[in-house]
Subunit: 486 residues, 2 copies
C-alpha cells in the first residue's frame, strides 16, 4: 500500500500529528485493518522525505491512542480500529421493529398510479422563482436564517389564520401551528393525543402514513369502513359507543378512496362526536381540488364544531417538496403541539414558509389553483372514460375531485398478486392491503391519477384492463372442470 | 348586526347557497351565537336587493344543515354552531402532559446568554443569497419542488459522506440520512433505539432538548456527571455495568458545560462502550469551533469505533434557521431511521438542502467557518477577562471552543432564584436545573456566549457580577447574628 498523506507545514498542527491523523483516518475508514503492518520508520521517512524522528513521533502518538502496537524487532501493527475489539452491536436486536410492510419502490419506467402527488409538469416554477427572489432580496432575510419560533413564521401564521377566519374555520379560541407538511402535523398530534391503548378510529381503508403513526404510538385502532359517502356513520356511532375518543377523518376526497362525506351528513357527524366528547382531527388537504363543474363544497367539520382540529397544506396544489403544512385548533391543543414541535425539530424551515407566503399573498396560489383544478377535471374525465372502456368488470365510484380513486377487482382476483403482472406490463399502483386497518382489502387497489397527464392515464388504464382480462381468463381456466372427469 | 355577504352571480354556486354559506361562516367563527335571531326574509331581501324566495331557500338550507331552527310566527334562530351541543372536549384531560418545565422566554432587552446559537450579525447573508440564486436558476429546480427521498437530497448526501470518509468518520458500512437539524436526528434515533424502560445514559448536565426526547420515549435515564474532561469515565463504567446500552454524548464543547473529552480518554471511552455492546450516539455539532490557537482536534469517537452513530450539522457555524442536519451510521441504523423519517415528515425540505450544498461545495462554508472561529476566539477572550474581573467568587472552566460555558455560583446562592434579579438588572441566562438529569444543579448556570458580541459579553458579565455580589451581601447579612442577641 502506498501512503500519500497531505502534510501542511504552514499548519498549526505539527507534522508528526498530521501524519498520525492520516493513519488514524485510514484505520477509521477501514483502509487499514487489524494486524496490518505499518512501514518501518526508516522506510516511510525515505518515501515521504521526512525525518525519521517525525515518523517515530507519529507512531508513538498512534500507540498512545491505542490504534497501533509495536512488537520489538518486528515493527508496528494496526491494533485495529476499536471495531475489532469486544462485541459488535447487534442492530437487529437493538432497533425498534417496523410495524408494517414497505410499499416497495414504484416500478421504473412504469406508468405510475402509486403516488398521491400533483404532477410536476404543472408546477408554476417561474412564479415560484419570482416569489423566492422577492424573499431573498428582502433586508429581513438575515432574521429568517436565524432560529425562529416553534409556532412558525409569524406573517404566514397571520395570513393563514385570517383566511381561515374568513372561511369560518377559525374562531377566537383557535390558534395555528406550522409543521413540515401534514404528515408532521399528524405525528405531532398523535404525540399530543395518544397514549398506549388510546382508542382511535380511522377510516378503513386509510392512508398508511396516518395509520402507521398511530400504530407506533401504541394506539388501539378501529377501522371505520368508508362507503361512497365517506366514513360510515353507523359504524362510527358503534365505535364511539365502544369508547373511541379520537377520530381521524378526511371528509373530502379521502385517500385512498376518493370518497366525500355529503354536506347533509356532516352535521350528524359532528353532533355524534361532539356528544361523545371525542377529539376529531380533520385532514383537509384535498378539499380545494373540486373537479366536477356542479361540485358543491360541503362545509368543513371545523365550521360546524369549533373543537375540531383542522389540518391544511398547499402540497396537493403545488410544490410538495417544500414541506409546509399547518394545524388550526383550540389554543390548548396548539400550545401542547408547539412544545412537541420544538422537541421534534425546533421549527419548520423559515425560508420555505416565507416563499410560500409570497406565493399565496401575491395571488399566485389562487391563479395556480385554478390551473390545477382545470387540469384535474381533464384527468378525471380520462379516468372515467378509460375505466368505462377497459375496466368494465371492475367496480369504482368516480370521485368529485382530489387525487385518488378506489377500484375493486372482479371476484377472485387479488390486487397484491396482480401488481406483479401489472408492473411487468408497465403500470404500477398500490394494492388495497397497504391501506387496511382492520378488514382485508385484497380485492381493491388505489389509482392515484393526479401525477399523470391524461394520455398516460388512458394508456395506463388500458394496460391495467388487459392485465385484469388476462387474470380473469386464467381464473376461469383454473376453475373450469377438467373434461376427463366430467 | 349588518349583513354584508359577498355574492357572486357569475359563480357556479347558486346565490341562495352562497348566502347560506355566508351565515354558516358567521356561525362557525362565532359572530352569530346560539339563540340569535336572523332577520325576517322580507327584511333581508330588502336590505340585500334579493328576491324573498332566495332568502327563504338560504334559510331552508341552513335549517337542513342543522344550523338554524324556525319557530312559526317568530322567525329563524341560530341553533348554535354544534359547539353548543353536547359535551365540550376537556383538553386538560385529553392532552399528554409536558414532562418538564418550560425554560421561559428570554427577558426582552436583556443581554441574553440563554440561547446556544451563532450571532446573526456574522451571517454571510450575501453569500447565502448567491447560493440560493444559483439553485433557483437551475433548470432542475422543478424536481426540487416535487416530493423527494426520505434519505435526503442525493447530491448533499454524497458530498457529506465523501467529506466524512476523508475525515475517517465514515466507512464502507456507513450510510447517511438528512434530518431537520440535529434535534430531529435525536428524535428519530430515540424512536429507532428506545422502548419504554430502555436504559439510556446522558451527560449530567445535558441539553434539555435531548433529555426531554428520551423522557418522552419512556427511557430510563442515567445522568453521567460531566467533569472538566467531559463525561466521567468511571461513572460511565458503572452505568454500563448496571445495564445501560445506549449512551448519548457530545465529546467536544458539550452543551451546557463546554467540556471536551481529551484525546487520550477517547480510546478508553469506545473500548468500554464497545465491550458492553452499547450504542453510542455522538453529537458532533460543536467540534469545528476550536478557538484556542494551540487547540488540537481530538479524534471523533466515530473514527475510533465504526459502530458509533454520528450527528452533524452546519447550524452552529451559520444559518440555524435553515433546518438541515444529518446522521452517519451503520446501514441498518440508517435504513430504520429513514423509515421513521418518512413517517414523521416524508423528507427534509429540498430547497434548503440544495442551498446549503451550494454554500458548502463552493468553498463559502469553509471561508465563513474561519470567520466564525476568529470571532469566537475574541468572544472567548472577552468571557475569560470579564469573568476574572467580575466573577472572581464563582468557579468556571474556560472551554476551548463552542458556544457555552458553565458557571458555579458561590456557596449558598441559587441560580434559579438569582435569575429574577439578573433579568431585572438586564441580563439573562438559563439556570442549572433546566439541564439536570439526576443531580441537583441549582448552584450552576449556563452562559451561552456565541450569540453576543464581545462588548455585550463584557457588559453582561459585569452586570451578572454585580448581581452576584449583591446576592452574596444579602446572604452574609442574613447569616450574621443580630447584635441584640449577642
Amino acid at each position: 500500500m502506498q501512503f500519500r498523506p497531505e502534510l501542511d507545514s504552514s499548519s498549526e498542527t505539527p507534522i508528526y500529528r498530521q501524519l498520525g491523523q492520516y493513519f488514524q483516518r485510514l484505520i477509521g475508514n477501514g483502509e487499514l485493518h487489524s494486524g496490518d503492518r505499518l512501514p518501518a520508520t526508516r522506510e516511510l521517512a525515505g518515501q515521504l522525505g521526512l525525518n525519521r524522528t517525525t515518523i517515530s513521533a507519529a507512531y508513538e502518538w498512534l500507540e498512545s491512542e491505542g490504534l497501533i502496537e509495536g512488537a520489538v524487532g518486528r515493527g508496528s501493527f494496526v491494533r485495529g480500529s476499536a471495531t475489532s475489539k469486544g462485541a459488535a452491536v447487534d442492530w437487529s436486536r437493538v432497533l425498534t421493529p417496523s410495524a408494517f410492510p414497505s410499499t416497495g419502490s414504484p416500478a421504473s419506467n412504469a406508468i405510475d398510479f402509486s403516488s398521491s402527488r400533483p404532477s410536476e409538469d404543472l408546477f408554476p416554477v417561474d412564479e415560484f422563482r419570482a416569489c423566492a427572489a422577492e424573499v431573498l432580496a428582502d433586508p429581513r432575510l438575515q432574521s429568517l436564517l436565524q432560529l425562529g419560533s416553534p409556532l412558525g413564521y409569524a406573517p404566514l401564521r397571520s395570513w393563514l389564520l385570517e383566511r381561515a377566519r374568513a372561511q369560518g374555520v377559525a374562531g377566537p379560541d383557535d390558534d395555528i401551528l406550522i409543521t413540515n407538511g401534514c404528515q408532521q402535523a399528524v405525528d405531532i398530534l398523535r404525540r399530543a393525543l395518544t397514549r398506549p391503548g388510546t382508542k382511535v378510529a380511522l377510516e378503513d381503508p386509510v392512508y398508511p402514513g396516518l395509520r402507521n403513526l398511530f400504530l407506533e404510538a401504541g394506539g388501539d385502532l378501529t377501522g371505520i369502513p368508508v362507503t361512497a359517502d365517506g366514513m360510515d356513520l353507523a359504524s362510527l356511532r358503534r365505535a364511539l359507543d365502544a369508547g373511541v375518543r379520537t377520530v381521524v377523518v378526511t371528509p373530502s376526497f379521502q385517500n385512498p378512496t376518493g370518497a366525500t362525506i355529503p354536506a347533509a351528513s356532516r352535521s350528524a357527524f359532528v353532533s355524534m362526536t361532539r356528544a361523545a366528547g371525542a377529539v376529531v382531527i380533520e385532514n383537509d388537504i384535498y378539499s380545494d381540488l373540486i373537479y366536477r363543474p356542479d361540485g358543491e363544497r360541503p362545509p368543513r367539520l371545523k365550521a360546524l364544531d369549533s373543537n375540531v382540529i383542522l389540518l391544511g397544506s398547499f402540497s396537493k396544489i403545488a410544490f410538495p417538496g417544500v414541506r409546509v403544512g399547518w394545524v388550526i385548533a383550540p389554543k390548548p391543543v396548539i400550545a401542547r403541539a408547539a412544545e412537541l414541535k420544538q422537541l421534534t425539530d425546533l421549527h419548520t424551515d423559515q425560508l420555505s414558509q416565507a416563499f410560500l407566503l409570497r406565493f399565496a399573498e401575491s395571488g399566485r396560489l389562487a391563479k395556480h389553483e385554478a390551473v390545477a383544478i382545470a387540469a384535474g377535471r381533464e384527468k378525471l374525465r380520462a379516468v372515467e372514460q378509460a375505466c368505462q372502456k377497459h375496466l368494465a368488470e371492475c367496480r369504482w365510484v368516480l370521485p368529485g375531485g382530489g387525487m385518488n380513486m378506489w377500484l375493486d377487482l372482479p371476484a377472485g382476483l387479488d390486487a397484491g398478486a396482480l401488481r406483479g403482472l401489472a408492473r411487468q406490463a408497465g403500470v404500477d399502483y398500490l394494492p388495497g392491503r397497504y391501506f387496511s386497518v382492520s378488514r382485508p382489502l385484497d380485492h381493491g387497489l388505489r389509482l392515484s391519477f393526479a401525477g399523470l397527464d391524461s394520455a398516460r392515464i388512458r394508456r395506463g388504464i388500458e394496460i391495467l384492463g388487459s392485465v385484469v382480462d388476462q387474470a380473469m381468463s386464467s381464473r376461469d381456466e383454473a376453475s373450469r372442470p377438467m373434461l376427463a372427469f366430467v
